[in-house]
Amino acid sequence: MTDGNDQVLSVRSLSTEFDGEDGALRVVDDVAFSVGRGEILGIVGESGSGKSVTGYSIMGLVDPPGRVASGDVVLEGRRLDLTDDAAMRKVRGNAISMIFQDPMTSLHPLLTIGDQMIDAILAHRKMPKREARSLAVEALRKVGIPSPEVRVRSYPHQLSGGMRQRVAIAIASLNQPALIIADEPTTGLDVTIQAQILHEIQMLVADRGMAVIWITHDMAVVGQLADRVAVMYAGRIVEEGPTQAILDSPAHPYTIGLLGSLLGRNRGKAELPQIPGSIDNAHRLTGCRFAPRCAHARAECEARPPMVEVSPGHHSACILATEQADG
């Protein structure tokens, strides 16, 4: 975990449930992590892992039938009440910003870029529109949009996909947030564009010491970008630690499976190794949720494995790790 003074965000016991026909489903189950200044935390998982919902929960954007059941969230020393919408609105777009997948659908099609940026500024600070507009132009310039004074009057459909995502990043950084949550921002984009976006984020982090949570299913991106990684499965964090440690010596069968299926590691093989089984019904298990698909599953896995330190700063929630730590 990061050093207390430099901590931007600390999350403990975060749980989010969705009410359904068969009772409430714990989509995020007792999740804990923290992010420090200038640090990029990658949250990795497949669909259904709860990684996006974790992001929404921290932002207070969980809509019925979902709700945050519990959570101890501290942002820059202040406790956040995730269920108090009025209070969270002051935080959203201000101290914490979020960017989403597919910028075409994030930006309102009928409003100019400038208007949408000015909205973001004026929602949190009082200033004349003119001033807000020049701030917007500056922000566009910072993310590398050419001729920002002209672009400010454009509509989203007049920009390319990469530029739109830059605009989204610009909007997110307008109010100097302490933390940016990025939910799959490069999924579906060209590799070249993806590289540009990654670069922009890295610049923001380097320039302003912003903290970033990067949510993705793409282990490769995380490997390039993140300082620390948290691996999620079926609503729980199963492993977390420094990126290099996780890549070199993964300590959870799921992580091992994920890494094993990466293309880069499988050159020359005829078949890509896959993790057998599927995530269905894992959310209902109270014990280890990965057990049904795990080659090493044992009777002890019916109880929820605790997070155990495998090496400095590197934790894993697996019975194997517990044994390794003890023995």
Binding site: M59, T105, H108, L110, L111
Partner: protein, 324 residues
């Protein structure tokens, strides 16, 4: 943009032209138009005189050319019933229909749009469910039945409002309308409400569907992530998104209103073009029927073009030159 309007207008003229051929063929080539004018006991010599007088003994294509030439002169022939110029009769009554249709449209929008927006925003609330049930009811009630109902309740039982006719007309800023007199308002209320029911249902459904779609759109989520207030999100982000479809449909609905007014006008004895066409059909007054059809088609085309233009102005994504 000007090019676009021009092209559409030309297409419209072509359409009107085609319509004239259809109308002509049907009216003058089908059946014996004389049968209306003369009784069976009229001697043949008189019949022949009438026929040649109306030019009905000339070959068909000649008749059509004469017909066309007359049309371009604004001469649609004379009513078999009143002897007045057919087109004149139609134009004379058009303001009354326009007045009724506009009033109905305004009522429908003022009630339908806010109701629809609220229903779309909170679809499971009381208002939401009532609104959708209400709109379904409105669509199922035939306009002549609702007219009867309104008359029974307000005119006969409650004796509040008169059963028919148009009120006195007053002139404001050069526009004369019965809306400007108290008597006029009393008389227009029931027919306008009756006519507004169907478009009201359409507006409720359209706006509620539009709002529902927009609310779950990701740009709304992004707007919330920016920390915008609910008020701003609702008033600007959501509303702006439903304006284009509402505007397009308004144009179409208005056109439909002009046609659907036939029922309301007939029941409430509203002296508009709808009333005229029904009477003309019943009395086989063909010149008036043709005049009405040509006129309606033209109005319709103009309204459609206008709606498309307004839509393009409101939605920057639409370019009239064809590329979307």
């Amino acid at each position: 943009m000007a090019v676009y309007v021009l092209v559409r207008l030309l297409q419209g003229i072509l359409l009107v032209f085609l319509m004239s051929i259809v109308a002509f063929c049907a009216i003058y080539a089908v059946g014996n138009p004389i049968s209306v004018l003369v009784s069976p006991t009229t001697p043949q010599s008189v019949i022949d005189k009438v026929v040649s007088g109306l030019g009905l003994d000339r070959p068909l294509h000649e008749q059509y050319l004469i017909f066309l030439r007359n049309l371009l002169d604004g001469d649609f022939g004379y009513s078999y019933v009143t002897g007045q110029p057919a087109l004149g009769m139609v134009l004379e009554r058009f303001p009354a229909t326009l007045e009724l249709a506009l009033t109905a449209m305004v009522i429908a929008m003022l009630v339908g749009v806010p109701l629809g927006v609220w229903a779309g925003y909170r679809p499971n609330g009381v208002v939401g469910r009532m609104a959708s049930g209400f709109s379904m009811l409105l669509i199922s009630l035939p306009p002549f039945w609702t007219a009867l109902l309104l008359i029974i309740v307000f005119s006969i039982e409650a004796r509040l409002l008169p059963t028919g006719g148009r009120g006195e007309v007053a002139s404001v800023l050069g526009i004369s309308s019965s809306l400007f007199t108290q008597d006029g308002l009393r008389r227009i209320l029931l027919p306008a409400v009756n006519l507004s029911l169907f478009p009201m249902a359409m507006f409720i459904r359209l706006t509620s569907a539009g709002v529902r779609e927009t609310v779950s759109a990701s740009f709304i989520r992004f707007a919330r992530a920016k920390g915008l207030s609910t008020g701003r999100i609702l008033s600007v982000y959501i509303l702006k998104n439903i304006v284009p479809p509402v505007v397009t449909v308004s144009g179409i609905i208005f056109g439909m209103l002009l046609a659907f007014s036939v029922i309301t006008e007939s029941i409430f004895s509203w002296p508009g073009t709808g009333h005229l066409i029904i009477k003309s059909i019943q009395t086989s007054d063909r010149p008036v029927v043709i005049a009405y059809l040509m006129f309606s088609v033209s109005i319709f085309i103009v309204i459609n073009i206008a709606a498309d233009v307004v839509c393009a102005v409101v939605d920057p994504r639409i370019s009239l030159s064809g590329s979307r």
